[in-house]
Each structure stands twice: as structure tokens, then as C-alpha cells.
Subunit: 305 residues, 2 copies
């Protein structure tokens, strides 16, 4: 069912070189291409719309769920996934999407992911997006991620758009209750005429909720990027946004964050910077014998790592 | 023509304890209450709309223009002022507005100030806003400031809303040409149910243009503040926004900056923080014998100085 190209894409988006251990659900061109459940993690196909329910039992520790999606030319895929992360569990969820589009028709995947991280649970969520193919067909990915973190819960998100995605609109909404924590690492690379928009809104509603967002991006060629990173504090809480972009060639980058405090004990910080590759770093690497291009690539790799 | 209250207000908004040296134009309740011109600085009443033209001759150095406005109950004043700052001049412009409103009717001043800072000219512009009066009548100030800084010119703005302004919407638009420089220091205090909105947009259009905006605010009681600080780089340029707010009581503060780079050699940085008074500073002052209230006042004064 999975061919050589599929396997290459799975390796890119889910670090999968073979069928994963633990629970998984592989979706290929809108169809189920493989599924495994465990004693603690169930995966159930939704009856009312395309998508799955992933149910992690309370107390489940050290387990993982892989739910990669593979797409090819001409596909327009829409999926709704719901994650129930049981109280006091500690799990890893890997949810990449890779598009191999060698043709002239667009391939699009829109995913709505909704998470309930229950009391004291800890979830790490990794989402990688990747596109490839020599054709003119557009590769489009529009993920919507909604996360509710209950008391004492932790959500750690690693959201990466590696390469080759022509259009993306990423919407992420997180609500943090008492003592809940959020860590977001976003990495984005755009080239050619690609467009990327990333909107992240975090509501700190519970006492001692804390959130940290680090967003790093590189915009090359004629690509454009827009970031709306919003943090809203409704209680005694702490929030920190850091947003760094490297701009190259004829690219355009806008960073439009918003911090709003609705409580006198809300502490919110935002930092954003847009600039070119640091010249002194380039020169240092070039004196070590690298060409300018090699030095540039090395710096960009480090920046997006 | 100027009574004791007028003189107190002039002292607050223009640091004027007597009639100023140099050029001045005092506006009281929509009427001219005094004017002086010099050999290098002319002030002309506009014919087509309320307001004045201030014309600084090229090469004028070390001179100042004071154009304070005084307003009382029931007045709704709208004025258009145009400033022509001649090439290679170096001048100080002080343009405060003070409202003494003891009654129940609102008093409002809307000012549109347009500046042309010509080649190599240097302008420092100080704008202080102040309201007082025990009545229930609202004190409203809506300044609009438009500044064009030509090649090699420098505009330094000090914009302060001291106290007692119930409603304000401040719009500031600056365009910087080649080698032009902008420095903005904004200070804002709101109390009771006051609302303040400050929108600053800077366009860096010329090569080696540079801008620095530092905005500091304190929001007390039930007051609200919203900041939109936008920096747009269209050339090799540098821009830095720093926005710090202290939030107290039931106040609300939103900081919504925007940095946009449309050129790969644009370097833009934004930093924003909203938080309460640092506890260690409070404790330090209280161990020196100050009450909590005194310590708080001293910290706020230092912050807004």
C-alpha cells in the first residue's frame, strides 16, 4: 500500500523509516492506509465527518501516536481529528503531512485538530509539513489547531514547515487553565513565490498559567510571510512571545503580534526581529573555508534547527 | 487676557512661567490670545481653515516656537497647523494642550499637525497634554501628527499625556527619506475610566533611514490603553520599537505592534512588555522608610520621566 515515494515522505514528516511502534494511523489520499491501537490508546474513525478520534487513557505514560498524512496530485483532503489526552498521561503525538505533487493540479490538505489535554496531562505534539514534486501543481496545507489545557496540564508544540509548501494558513488557538503550561516552537521556511500565514492566539485564563512561543522563520526569493501572534492574559499569568525572521532576496515579512493584559498581575512580553543573516557570522564561516552559499546554508540550518 | 488658571495650564503643558522668548502663538478657546514672530520664524493665520502656518527659514539655529492651546468647558476646538522647517535649521517646537474643565460639558481639542522637515534640518517637537477640573465634563484630546523628514533630516518627538485626559486618540504618521532619522519618546498615564489609544506608523522609505520609538505607559484604576506601533521598512534601514506598560488595579492594556520588512536589508526590532511594578524595587524603597504608596509613586515617576 505504501510505495517508495510514500516512505520517503513518511521519513520527512514523521521521522518514520518503518512502521512505527505504538499507536498509528496513516492516511493516504483521503483513505486509511494503516492503523494500530494499543491497550492505552484507541483510534476510532469518526462517523459524522472525515477524521479520527484519538483517545489516550488517563495515566498512560511514555507512549506515542503517529498520524501522518500523505497526499498527491489533484487531491483535496479535509480531515477533523479529535484528541482526548487523559488525565496524568504523558504522550507524544506526531502528525506530519507530506505532499508529493509531480503534476499540474493542486494538492490540498486542510486539517482541523482539536485537543483536550486533561488535568495534569503532558502532551508533546510534533507537526511537520513538507512538499515536493517538479510539477506546477500547488501544494497547499491549512492546519487549524485548537487546544484546551486543563489544570496543571502541559502542551508542547513543535510545528515545522520544512520546505515545498506553496500556500499555508496556520491557525492555532490555545486556552490555558489554572497552572497550565504551553510551549510552542514554530519553524517556517518559504522559498520561490510561496506564501505563509501563521496565526497563534493564546488565552491565559487560569491563575499561574504560563506560555512561551518561539517562532523562527526564513523567507527567501519572492516569498511572503505574515505572523499574528496573540497573547491574552485574564489572570495572574506569564506569557512570552519571541519572533525572529531572516529575510533574503525579494521576500517580505510582517510580524504583527498582540499582547493584551486584562488583569494587573498578567505579565506579558513580546520580542520580534526581522533582519538579514548576521554578516560577522557569514565572514567567520567563510574564513574557515566555506563559500558564501555554504556559510549561508549552515547559518540558516542552525537558525531553523 | 491670560488669567491665573491659564498660567498654571501653560506651565504644565509648555513649561511656560511667563511669556516665552522667541516665536509663539497662544490659542485660548479657539481664539488667538497672543503671538510673536521673529526674523527667522513667521506665524501666519490660515485663511481657508482654523489654524496657523509656522515657517522656519532655512539655516535657523537654536530658536524655538511655543504654540500652546488652552481650553475650557463646552469648547469643541479643531485646528490645522502646518510647520515648514527650512533646510539645515535646528529648532525646538513646544505644542502642548491643556484643558481646564470645571463644569459638566465636554471640552475637546482636535489638532492636525503637519510637518515638513526639509533637507538636513533638525526638529525637536514636544507635545504635552494635560487636563484638570473637578466637574463631570469630559476632557478629550485627539492629536493627529503627520511628519515628512527629507534627506538627512532629524525629527525628535516627545509626546506626553501627563494627567487628566479622559479620552484620547493619538495618530502619528512619519515618513523617513534617505538618511533621515526619527526618535520618539511617548509617555502616557491614564487613571479612573480614561481611555487612550495611540497609533504610530513609521515608513522607512529611504536608504539608511533609522527610527527609534520608545513608548512607556502606566494604566491605573479602570482605565484602558491600546497601542498600535507600526514600522515598515522599504529600503536598507533600521527600526526599533520598545513599548513598556505598567498595569495596575482593574486597568487593561493592549500592545499591537507591527513590523514589516519589504526589503532584505531592512532591520526591524520590536520589544513590548506589560506587567506590574517590580516587587523588588517596591520592597527596596519600603526598607528605606517609604510607605507602599510613596514607593509606588516614586517608581512610576521614574518610569514616566
Amino acid at each position: 500500500m505504501l510505495n517508495a515515494i510514500d516512505k520517503k515522505i513518511l521519513a520527512e514528516v514523521a521521522d518514520l523509516h518503518e512502521i512505527p511502534h505504538g499507536a498509528y494511523n496513516i492516511r493516504k489520499n483521503g483513505e486509511k492506509a494503516g492503523r494500530n491501537t494499543t491497550a492505552n490508546i484507541d483510534i476510532i474513525t469518526k462517523q459524522d465527518k472525515p477524521g479520527i478520534d484519538i483517545i489516550v487513557k488517563p495515566g498512560t505514560k511514555g507512549e506515542s501516536v503517529h498520524i501522518p498524512v500523505i497526499l498527491s496530485e489533484g487531491m483535496d483532503d479535509l480531515v477533523y481529528n479529535t484528541f482526548e489526552i487523559g488525565a496524568d498521561s504523558d504522550v507524544l503525538i506526531v502528525a506530519g503531512c507530506g505532499i508529493h505533487n509531480p503534476g499540474s493540479k493542486k494538492a490540498q490538505h486542510d486539517g482541523v485538530h482539536e485537543f483536550f489535554v486533561r488535568k495534569g496531562a503532558k502532551m508533546k505534539y510534533v507537526e511537520k509539513h513538507y512538499g515536493e514534486g517538479d510539477g506546477s501543481g500547488e501544494r497547499i496545507l491549512n492546519p487549524k489547531t485548537i487546544i484546551e489545557v486543563e489544570e496543571g496540564g502541559v502542551a508542547e508544540l513543535e510545528m515545522v514547515q520544512i520546505r515545498g509548501v506553496d500556500q499555508t494558513k496556520r491557525d492555532t488557538e490555545v486556552r490555558l487553565h489554572k497552572n497550565a503550561r504551553l510551549i510552542v516552537m514554530e519553524r517556517l521556511l518559504t522559498t520561490t513565490n510561496q506564501n505563509a500565514e501563521s496565526n497563534i492566539t493564546v488565552e491565559l485564563t487560569g491563575e499561574d498559567a504560563a506560555a512561551q512561543i518561539i517562532s523562527r522563520s526564513v523567507a527567501q526569493d519572492h516569498s511572503t510571510q505574515v505572523f499574528h501572534l496573540n497573547m491574552r492574559g485574564y489572570a495572574q499569568c506569564r506569557g512570552h512571545i519571541q519572533c525572529d525572521s531572516i529575510i533574503m532576496d525579494q521576500a517580505k515579512v510582517s510580524s504583527i503580534p498582540e499582547i493584551s493584559a486584562f488583569h494587573s498581575d498578567a505579565q506579558l512580553i513580546h520580542e520580534a526581529a526581522i533582519g538579514r543573516i548576521a554578516n560577522d557570522q557569514l565572514i567567520k564561516l567563510m574564513t574557515l573555508g566555506l563559500t558564501e552559499k555554504e556559510a549561508e546554508d549552515m547559518i540558516l540550518q542552525g537558525f531553523l534547527a
